[in-house]
């Protein structure tokens, strides 16, 4: 782990949702730490808590039915979970920004994109209408939108999905936030456009020094973008390591499954890769997680211990942890 103080630190985050079927613990003991200018990837299937982690950091979890039960979210040392709502409004969009999965619906259809970018700048930096619109044009140019001076007056419906996601990125970065949370930013886009958006994110990161939390279910995307990867399953972190380490040496059976699911376009795949596989079963309902490892029902290696007690993270390498009983060297402790 880097010696520098982390920019954003999440500790032992717990989030619960009250539902008709009982209380669902959607996040359980989530911890992460993000260094300035770095990229952290969060991977997992739908419903594993990736987006909920992001919303919790922004404190945008709908309350009720949601409730942030425990933990801390420290931005430069300040615990955001203890901050006032007024303080959070200052943080959102200025210190921590977010872009979402659906560029087609994430922009307000009745305002021009220029107005929507300028609004953030006016709100956080108190610029005049004119200056904030100039900033909007500047940001549109930065995200390579052609004819920015004209397009700034256009409305979301006049743009393609890829363009809209660029607008979202421009809007998120307009106030030079120190953290950008990108929640599945390319899932709704064409493959070619996906690559463009990733290139843009990298480029903007180099320019502005923003740290990125990239949320994705796509191991390939994470491999390309992230310095460090966190794998989540059923609201918990099951494995965490540097990107290269996790790709070359995945330890948790779930991570291995995820990596095996990525199709490869190679004429002669190495024999050890084998056929494209899938992880059997689905993510369990969060309302009836037993006391054991939540992955146990889908795991080939599950033992009685897995089914009765949840594993804590074990160190499995240099700065590499996996929450799996397979790596409990001290035996069942």
């Amino acid at each position: 782990m880097d010696a520098a103080a982390p920019l954003l630190e999440v500790e032992d985050l717990e989030v619960e949702f009250r539902t008709r079927h009982g209380t669902a613990r959607v996040l359980d003991g989530v911890a992460l730490s993000l260094q300035p200018g770095r990229t952290l990837g969060i991977v997992g299937e739908s419903g594993c808590g990736k987006s909920m982690t992001a919303l919790s950091i922004m404190r945008l979890v709908p309350v009720p039915p949601g409730r942030i039960g425990a933990g801390a979210v420290r931005l430069k040392g300040e615990d955001l979970l203890q901050a006032s709502e007024k303080r959070m409004r200052e943080v959102r969009g200025k210190d921590i920004s977010m872009i979402f999965q659906e560029p087609m619906t994430s922009l307000n259809p009745v305002y021009s994109i220029g107005d929507q970018i300028a609004e953030t700048v006016r709100l956080h930096e108190g610029l005049s209408r004119r200056d904030s619109l100039d900033r909007a044009i500047e940001m549109l140019k930065a995200v390579h939108i052609p004819a920015a001076e004209r397009r700034v007056r256009e409305f979301p419906h006049q743009m393609s999905g890829g363009m809209r996601q660029r607008v979202m990125i421009a809007m998120a970065l307009a106030c030079r936030p120190s953290v950008l949370i990108a929640d599945e930013p390319t899932t709704a886009l064409d493959v070619t456009v996906q690559a463009q958006v990733f290139d843009l994110l990298k480029e903007m990161q180099e320019k502005t020094g923003t740290a990125i939390i990239l949320i994705s279910h796509d191991m390939g995307a994470i491999a390309e973008m992230a310095d460090r990867v966190m794998v989540m399953y059923a609201g918990r972190i099951v494995e965490e390591a540097a990107t290269d380490e996790i790709l070359e040496n995945p330890r948790h059976p779930y991570t291995r499954g995820l990596i095996a699911c990525v199709p490869h376009m190679e004429e002669e795949p190495p024999p050890e890769r084998g056929a494209l596989t899938e992880i059997p079963g689905v993510v369990p309902a969060l309302t009836d997680l037993g006391s054991g490892c939540s992955f146990a029902p889908r795991c080939d290696h599950a033992t009685d211990l897995c089914r009765s007690r949840a594993p804590r993270p074990f160190a499995v390498g240099a700065d590499h942890r996996a929450a799996c009983w397979l790596y409990d060297e001290a035996g069942a402790a």
Binding site: R92, G93, F100, T105, L107, P109, L123
Partner: protein
């Protein structure tokens, strides 16, 4: 073209109604001989074949002549223009109030969908839908006129007040209160219900999450980002319901003897004053068309997607 169809349809419909002006005049003068009745019918051209009557009428309407009222013996156009102002005052005030207050109620209710106010809006909507206008009007009369004695019972203005003075205007407003309240109650109910549903829908959308993630406060999120999207269906319904509220006005005007088109229409029907009825129907049709046009313009103002669709 549409208006022409309206004119022809109205004419056919009214010619099916039994009784005519001769019957009315005979009734009012206490009986008349068949000869006199035939004479009256000849005067008004009612003895001619149906298709000739129709063609004559349509020909006149095309030239802007709505005919002459049998009863008042005045040009129908003049009669309508003299009565249009009170009706527009009543209808427009009621509609504007219903939209503004209804939308506001809906917005407040949508902020807390399970709160007390939200339930109040639901009940209000139910009562508003269920209660007929004339019933509401009578209840309001019982409360404000008979019990509290703070509102005038009927008419546009106290005839003793000098016309054109400030007191005169205030007196009109005083007289306007109950009719507007009765007429707007149903629409208030439906708009608040509609605005509530529309707002709740919009508040759950992705761009509202984006607005919150930008650091906007709830007030900006609600009134700037959500409301402008949520009023689009309200505008649609308001445009469609304008003709509705016009027919509601007939009832309300009659109850409060408000000297507008509604009262005129009601009385003309009783009198069998066919040209006046047809004139009013023609006029209402025109107003509905104009309002639809205004609705479209309002759309363009609110929703940029429509602006560019039309330009493209």
């Amino acid at each position: 073209m549409l208006l022409l169809a309206v004119v022809v349809f109205n004419f056919i419909l009214l010619s099916l109604v039994p009784g005519d002006i001769a019957d009315t005049l005979a009734g009012e003068s206490g009986g008349a001989s068949q000869e006199v009745m035939d004479d009256i019918r000849r005067t008004y051209g009612l003895d001619r074949p149906f298709h000739i009557q129709l063609a004559t009428y349509v020909g006149k309407v095309v030239q802007g002549d709505l005919g002459t009222s049998y009863y008042f013996n005045l040009p129908v156009t003049e009669l309508i223009l003299g009565r249009i102002a009170p009706t527009l005052l009543l209808v427009v005030t009621a509609l504007v109030l219903a939209i503004l207050i209804g939308t506001l109620f809906g917005v407040i209710a949508s902020r807390r969908p399970n709160g007390l106010f939200s339930h109040f809006v639901t009940v209000l909507a139910l009562v508003g839908f269920a209660a007929p206008v004339f019933w509401t009007a009578f209840l309001l009369i019982v409360l404000f006129v008979a019990m509290l004695e703070i509102m005038p019972l009927s008419g546009l203005v106290d005839p003793t007040t000098p016309r054109g003075t400030l007191t005169w205007y205030l007196d009109v407003l005083h007289h306007l209160f109950l009719p507007v309240l009765s007429l707007s109650s149903i629409y208030l109910a439906s708009y608040s219900r509609l605005a509530r549903a529309s707002m709740m829908d919009v508040l759950g959308s992705d761009y509202i999450r984006t607005a919150r993630a930008k650091g906007l406060g709830e007030t900006s999120v609600t009134y700037k980002h959500a409301l402008r999207n949520a009023v689009i269906p309200v505008i649609t319904i308001a445009g469609l319901q304008f003709s509705h509220i016009f027919s509601g006005a007939v009832v309300v005007e009659t109850v409060f003897t408000w000297p507008g088109l509604g009262t005129l229409a009601f009385e003309s029907i009783l009198r069998g004053d066919t040209p006046t009825i047809m004139g009013i129907l023609f006029f209402s049709a025109m107003i509905v068309i104009v309002v639809n046009l205004l609705t479209d313009l309002a759309y363009r103002l609110v929703d940029p997607r429509i602006r560019s669709a039309r330009n493209a």
